[in-house]
């Protein structure tokens, strides 16, 4: 049994466990190589699936001939769309036709191929080698059409249509805000700055690719689907619908998961096709996405174009923000979020941490002949934060002010604050984080090094907040067909006083087995290793929305806490009765029991009565020890915030970029497990740096992917990612059960802006400004060459 840990002195907490960086419950098995990831699962008679994928970016499919595939040694079956006849997947927004055009994503392409890598047929064989031999033998006849490979091409007059039902290749076109009189503000403003930027298409790139093992279980009369998904209940619903089963006939189980970052929080077509094959063959079928497919045909993200103007007064007050956002969503709307995910996020949240009195925005999602997109860690926020932070840098130059000082004059300091975007911000430490971040870099001597004339050094900042408690109300504003938000927990105490508790969220690296257990441990006064967290199984969990949008600790953690409190009340009631005392005099003793005065009963003793001597229970109290609670966030949710400060050095001889220093001052409210919070920040920052400087999914003019391997898709290594100094501030959330705000995405959100600002600061003497990411080294080389 674990001992309560030493408290870390600088953080508030409500008990012995929350706030302590205890050993992770996940670690022993993962370190010993004894985790269970999807590809580790082996079932008797299991077959292996792969997909015949479109070689054309845009084409009519004239015929699919699988006869030679079926003749390949080892191949057991091969199915085209016509063979399986599955219902397609359609994600919906409740918006009028001029704002949203629904499009169906077929499980297997039948009449039309819309991107290179789109699945056209599934091949099933006895081993993973033979199945690739089989895939090679497929003969698919295409009549190529002109592909649409960029947002500008998609919107061009007379462009070919990716979906016949979507004119101008536009799936979403929303204008959520337009402050009256905004044009006049721009006309009269002292200073107007513009930012035009394009961000590269990225891959969320969980190191474990997508995968599934599906089998029909005759005893349970169930299709059992073990898959690495962030949203198992969504997979169950869509899968059941596509293959024509009811919900109880599908069980989705999520084993250990090697990262997700959003790519796995939508429903993919491959897992549906593999499950359909398993159903047909009545044999287990495994599909493991290989890296080439993961790089070219998995859900992508982040390719956006911004045209933004901002008006400032002579004193450096921001007066108005006017933005046009175009998101290249690729070939299909993802389920359940739709192609609206990126433009809606950008439109709703762009004013961010600043007091902006007037705001106008148009957000569009266009469809192109590229692999479709899904939410990716931060969703649009890395981009719009980058744009807004570039606005402040440019305005500072135009106004002759220091950029940090300009931010200081404009960040929200009085809370709650109702923004021009109709969102009420709960308290945060926007100004404090900015001050501390700048001071830290100053104290470390970076500002004096910046002025060394023999070196090309720049310093950049980004100041931002991030809504992490998207409850049902906040999500309802998106007007999706399904509205995520709440979470439900069931808690049960067993005979020896140990506890198991369900959560509808699920960890894929975030340490929920540890952090959720810490929350329960404090509520019940038991060591955290007496608590088992149950996650990722649609048969064992009432209903769950899964893990995305930094919602797990804020919402899932609150549900877990609420269920624990209910169970605690039950324990008190029974104990009071057994001790013949008033329930109000009974309290949890913090040591695994209930105390009434100087007498106490251990949980094991109470459980003994609840299960084995039920006749001793008080009247009206049923046998057993269990409780259910749910949690939702009312209002507009909660906001985590941070300031990032980055120092870069540029190499005039090569255009190379080195990050010399990275400081992150973050505030996610109460940190349940500070080490985990820091891990989330560091990992997030690495992904943000990747987007700013390294990674890009590229295509040629014919829509052929140019980055099918890690040779071209340049994931940064330990040699490129710097150490990060992290400082914590703590503004507790008033309405989550533990005071925590979300911590999963902030690192990724803040990094591109700070890095890009630092690069531009280093280029300050050249007259060149670079606003697109990933930053091309050649552009730096040329800028410095001229200077």
């Amino acid at each position: 049994m674990a001992e309560p840990p030493q408290r870390s002195p600088h953080l508030r907490r409500d008990g012995a466990w929350v706030g302590a960086s205890v050993p992770r419950r996940e670690d022993p098995r993962l370190l010993a190589g004894r985790g269970r990831f999807v590809d580790d699962i082996v079932l008797p008679g299991m077959l292996h699936a792969q997909f015949v994928r479109s070689t054309e970016a845009h084409a009519e499919i004239l015929s699919v001939d699988l006869s030679e595939v079926r003749a390949v040694p080892g191949v057991v079956a091969a199915y085209s769309a016509a063979d399986l006849n599955l219902r397609g997947v359609t994600a919906l927004l409740d918006r009028p036709p001029h704002e949203f055009v629904p499009t169906a994503m077929p499980v297997l392409a039948h009449d039309r191929a819309r991107y290179v890598g789109e699945p056209v047929a599934i091949v099933v064989a006895r081993d993973p080698y033979a199945v690739e031999d089989g895939v090679e033998a497929a003969i698919v006849e295409y009549a190529p059409l002109q592909p649409v490979v960029s947002d500008t091409a998609a919107l061009a007059e007379g462009a070919p249509l990716v979906h016949a039902e979507a004119p101008r290749n536009t799936l979403v076109d929303v204008s959520l805000f337009a402050t009256e009189g905004i044009d006049a503000i721009f006309d009269e403003a002292h200073t107007v700055v513009e930012v035009h930027t394009k961000t590269g298409r990225q891959n969320a790139l969980p190191l474990e690719t997508r995968g599934v093992v599906a089998d029909w279980d005759d005893r349970d009369e169930q299709l059992r689907v073990q898959t690495c998904s962030q949203v198992p209940h969504q997979v169950r619903t869509v899968l059941a619908r596509c293959v024509g089963l009811d919900e109880k006939q599908v069980r989705v189980i999520v084993p250990d998961m090697g990262g997700g970052f959003g790519q796995k929080c939508v429903v993919g077509r491959e897992e549906i096709a593999a499950a359909a094959a398993a159903l047909r063959l009545r044999r287990p079928v495994k599909w493991i996405e290989d890296r080439r497919d993961a790089l070219t045909a998995a859900f992508l993200a982040r390719e956006q174009r911004y045209a933004v103007r901002a008006a400032f007064s002579a004193e450096g007050e921001i007066l108005a923000l006017d933005a046009d956002v175009v998101c290249d969503m690729g070939a299909y709307s993802c389920y359940p979020f739709t192609a609206g995910i990126e433009p809606l996020m950008a439109s709703a949240e762009m004013p961010g941490v600043y007091k902006i009195p007037a705001y106008r925005v148009r957000g569009r999602a266009v469809t192109t002949n590229k692999a479709p997109t899904a939410p990716y860690r931060g969703v649009s926020r890395p981009q719009y934060v980058m744009v807004v932070e570039r606005v402040f840098e440019k305005a500072a130059r135009a106004l002759g002010l220091d950029a940090v000082e300009l931010r200081r004059r404009n960040v929200i300091t009085v809370f709650p604050y109702k923004g021009v975007n109709d969102i009420t911000y709960d308290p945060g430490s926007y100004l404090e984080s900015l001050d501390l971040c700048e001071q830290t870099l100053r104290d470390e001597g970076w500002f004096s090094r910046r002025s060394d004339e023999n070196r090309v050094i720049g310093i950049g900042f980004s100041c931002f907040s991030e809504r992490t408690g998207y409850g049902s109300g906040a999500f309802a504003q998106r007007r999706m067909e399904v509205v995520p938000g709440f979470d439900i927990s069931e808690i049960r105490m067993d005979l020896n006083g140990t506890v198991s508790v369900t959560t509808g969220t699920l960890s894929h690296g975030q340490s929920h087995e540890t952090t959720m257990a810490q929350i329960v441990a404090d509520r019940l006064g038991i060591p955290y290793d007496r608590v088992k967290i149950v996650q990722g199984d649609t048969d064992r969990i009432t209903y769950g929305w899964g893990s995305f949008a930094s919602r797990s600790i804020t919402i899932g953690g609150s549900a877990v806490a609420a269920a624990s409190v209910k169970l605690g009340d039950q324990l008190r009631e029974i104990a009071a009765h057994l001790l013949e005392a008033d329930v109000d005099s009974a309290e949890l003793d913090g040591a695994g029991g209930v105390r009434v005065g100087d007498r106490s009963l251990s949980f094991a003793e109470i459980a003994d009565v609840a299960y084995l001597k039920a006749h001793l229970l008080p009247k009206g109290v049923g046998p057993g020890l269990s409780a259910t609670a749910s949690f939702d966030v009312g209002g507009d949710g909660t906001f985590s915030n941070a300031t990032h400060g980055v120092v870069v050095e540029l190499d005039p001889g090569t255009g190379g970029i080195e990050i010399l220093r990275y400081v992150c001052v973050e505030d996610c409210g109460v940190a349940i497990h500070p080490q985990v919070v820091e891990g989330q920040a560091r990992g997030g920052i690495a992904q943000g740096i990747a987007g700013a400087l390294f990674e890009q999914v590229t295509y040629d003019d014919a829509g052929q992917p140019l980055a099918p391997s890690f040779m071209e898709y340049k994931v940064p290594t330990a040699a490129e990612i710097p150490d990060v100094r992290i400082e914590h501030l703590e503004t507790p959330c008033a309405f989550t059960e533990s005071g925590a705000k979300g911590a999963g995405e902030g690192g990724t959100i803040g990094a591109p802006a700070a890095v890009l600002n630092a690069v531009n600061d280093a280029l300050r003497h050249t007259g060149v400004e670079l606003d697109d990411t990933p930053v091309p080294r050649e552009a730096i080389f040329r800028a410095l060459e001229k200077a």
């Binding site: 370190l31 190589g33 690719t209 990612i721």
Partner: protein, 168 residues
């Protein structure tokens, strides 16, 4: 065509009848059930499949099992005691939060194990350069470098301690 090969993994000999095109990582995982070694890219860049071949870290996705007959293969399963007690390197990873999802972890562990055996005096910067061999998408690498560096320091201290005691 099927080929008979004999592999020595974690000190245990195995006789296998396999197609020669099977890579070492697939044979370890699927033929021997040693699923601790992971597959991340199958082209030698991510390093999730890193194992030790005669003590040296190698990409198990870039080797055919048939090529390493007669070699001593070590995988992540060899690090902990049979009762589950973690070794010093594994404990350092846990203490420093050098893993999140755990998918790259076995490769990182074997990379570090092989490297530290050869270079016990490695500096933190040298360790960072070696960690750059493998990809991790969760941690940002800092805590992995710190974990390995800490393990190296502890091993050096323990060795020095042993020397001091044997000369005392």
């Amino acid at each position: 065509m099927i080929q008979l090969i004999e592999l020595t993994v974690n000190g245990e000999r195995h006789d296998l009848a396999i197609e020669p095109r099977r890579t070492l990582v697939d044979v370890l995982r699927h033929d021997l059930g040693l699923t601790g070694t992971h597959v991340g890219c199958e082209h030698g860049i991510c390093g999730a499949c890193t194992v030790l071949v005669d003590g040296a870290p190698a990409r198990a996705c870039l080797l055919f099992a048939a090529q390493v007959e007669g070699a001593e293969i070590r995988t992540v399963e060899s690090l902990a005691e049979p009762d589950g007690t973690l070794n010093d390197l594994q404990r350092c990873f846990s203490e420093h939060h050098g893993l999140q999802c755990g998918f790259c972890t076995p490769g990182m562990l074997m990379l570090a194990e092989g490297y530290l055996a050869e270079e016990p005096e490695a500096t933190k910067e040298e360790i960072r350069e070696v960690v750059a061999s493998n990809l991790c998408r969760c941690t940002g690498y800092q805590t992995i470098v710190e974990a390995i560096d800490d393990c190296a320091s502890r091993r050096r201290a323990a060795f020095q301690d042993q020397l001091d005691r044997s000369t005392a």
